[in-house]
Subunit: 256 residues, 2 copies
C-alpha cells in the first residue's frame, strides 16, 4: 500500500515543485513506483517532466471538476516507474467551481483510495496557497513534506503552515502526519542560511531531514529541458542531493 | 491624484514583496508620499517594514471583511512619507467570507477612491495567486507592476499573467494599464538569467524596465531587521538598484 505525500508550503518559490519532481524521479530510480500529481494551476511540475501544458486534454482539473476517472488522466513519462497526472491553467477556477460539489475538501482522497494500491508513493505538488486544492491534497495525504528556503520570509510562514496541518488533522484527516521539513536553496556561506537553519532546528528539531539541498544553478536549468535533475545532469550536486534525500525519505516515510 | 499600482505575479517567490516594500521606501525617499497595502495573508510586507503581524488589530482584513473605514487601518512607519495598511493571517479566509458580499471584486477600488487624493502613489503587494484578493487589487489599480525572477518557471507564468490582465481590463477595470515588467534576482554570470531576459525582451519589449535588480544577499537579510534595504544598508547594490528603479518608475508611471 503506497504512501501519499503532499508537498506544500503557502510561501511562494521555496522549492515545492523542484522537490516534488526530483523526489519522484529519484524514488523511481530507486525502484519505487511513483505517481506525481500536479495540483497547481501554474502546471510547473507538468512542464518540469517534459509535458506541454498547452496540449494536455485530460488533467487533474478534469478529474476533480469534470468527474473524469482518475486512471484516465494518468500518463507515463520518459522514465521507468514514474507516472504523472498533469495540471492546466483552468484549475485556477476550481475554487469557485468546486463550491457546489458535496464534500469538496475530500474529493481527491476518495479518488486515490484505489490508486494507492498501484504505487509505492504518490507525490502531490501544491500551489502556494491554503485553498481548496491544497486542502484536498492534505485531506488525501498520509504525510506533509514541507520544503523551506533558508530565508527570513520563508521562516515566518512555517509556524502558520504547521498550524494549518494541525487544523486539517483535527477536522478533516485524523491520520495526517509530518513527513518532514527539507531545507532548500541553502547557501552555507551566508549567515542568513545558517541563522534560518538554526532557528528551525530550535523549534522543530524532530521534523528536519538531515539532507540539505544546496542552491545550484543546474537545478533551475533542468526544467527548461523538461527533465528532472537526475536525467539532465546526473553528476551535479543537485542530482546527488535529491538522490540522497530520496533514500532518507524512504527510510523515514516508506519504512524501507 | 495619486496612482494605484498592483504588484502581482501568481508565480511564487519572484520578489513581489521585496519590490513593493523597497519601491515604497525609495519613492518616499524621493518625496513621493506613499501608501503600501499588504494584501497577502502571509503578511510579509507587514513584517518587512518592521510591524509585528501578531499584534495587528486593524488590518486590510478588517477593512475588506469587517467594514472598518480604510483610514482607520493606516499606520505610519519609521520613515517619513511612507504609510502602511498591514495584513494578518485571517485574510486567508477572505475568499470564502467575501462570497456573500455584493460586488466583491470591486470593494477595494471603492474604498481607495478617496484615499487616492492623499498620496502620490499607492502600492499593493499581492499574494501568489489569482484569487479574489488579487482581483480586488487589479480592479482598483491604474497599473500592474510584474516582478519576474530570471528563471524558467517564472517565465512560463508570464503569458498567463498578461492574459489575466487583459481579462480584468475587459471585464472589471477598463483603464488598467501595464506599469511594467521588472527583472529581479538576476545573476548575469549564468546563461539561464541571460536566456530568460532575452526571451522576455523578444515577446514584451515595450513593458520591460531598464533597471534590473541583481541577486544580493543583503536584500534578503533586510526583512529580518524589519527594514527596507535603503535603511538597512544604503550603500548596498540592492539599495542603489531599487532607488534607480524608483526614479525610472516615476518617469514612466507618475509622469515626473
Ligand atoms: N536548490 C535550488 N538551487 C537553485 N535554484 C533552485 C533550487 N530549487 C529550486 N530552484 C529554482 O527556484 C525557483 C523556485 O522553485 P520552485 O518553483 O520549485 O518553488 P515552488 O515552491 O514550487 O514555487 P511556487 O510557490 O510558485 O509553486 C525555480 O525557478 C527553481 O528552478
Ligand atoms: N534581488 C534579490 N536578491 C536576493 N534575494 C532576494 C531578492 N529579491 C528577493 N529576495 C528574497 O527571495 C525571497 C522571495 O522574495 P519575495 O518574498 O519578495 O517574493 P514574493 O514574490 O513576494 O513571494 P510570495 O510569492 O511568497 O509572495 C525572499 O526570501 C526575499 O528576501
Ligand atoms: Mg511550484
Ligand atoms: Mg510576497
Amino acid at each position: 500500500m503506497g504512501k501519499i505525500i503532499a508537498v506544500t508550503n503557502q510561501k511562494g518559490g521555496v522549492g515545492k515543485t523542484t522537490t516534488a519532481v526530483n523526489l519522484a524521479a529519484s524514488l523511481s530510480r530507486l525502484k519505487v513506483k511513483t505517481l506525481l500529481i500536479d495540483m497547481d494551476p501554474q502546471a510547473n511540475a507538468t512542464s518540469g517532466v517534459g509535458l506541454d501544458r498547452n496540449k494536455i486534454e485530460k488533467s487533474i482539473y478534469s478529474v476533480l471538476v469534470k468527474q473524469l476517472p482518475l486512471a484516465e488522466a494518468i500518463v507515463s513519462t520518459s522514465w521507468d516507474g514514474m507516472e504523472v497526472i498533469p495540471s492546466v491553467a483552468d484549475l485556477t477556477g476550481a475554487e469557485i467551481e468546486l463550491l457546489e460539489i458535496e464534500d469538496r475538501n475530500n474529493i481527491l482522497r476518495k479518488l486515490l483510495a484505489k490508486a494507492k494500491e498501484n504505487y509505492g508513493c504518490i507525490i502531490i505538488d501544491c500551489p502556494p496557497s491554503l485553498n481548496v486544492l491544497t486542502i484536498n491534497a492534505l485531506s488525501a495525504a498520509d504525510g506533509v513534506l514541507m520544503p523551506i528556503q533558508c530565508e527570513y520570509y520563508a521562516l515566518e510562514g512555517l509556524t502558520q503552515l504547521l498550524k494549518t496541518v494541525d487544523l486539517v488533522r483535527a477536522n478533516i484527516n485524523s491520520h495526517l502526519g509530518v513527513a518532514g521539513i527539507l531545507f532548500t536553496m541553502a547557501d552555507l556561506r551566508t549567515n542568513l542560511t545558517r541563522q534560518v537553519m538554526e532557528e528551525v532546528r530550535k523549534y522543530f528539531p524532530e521534523f528536519i531531514f538531515k539532507t540539505v539541498i544546496p542552491r545550484s544553478v543546474r537545478l533551475s536549468e533542468a526544467p527548461s529541458f523538461g527533465k528532472p535533475i537526475l536525467y539532465y545532469d546526473e553528476a551535479s550536486i543537485g542530482a546527488e542531493s535529491y538522490l540522497q534525500f530520496a533514500k532518507e525519505f524512504m527510510e523515514r516515510n516508506l519504512g524501507v
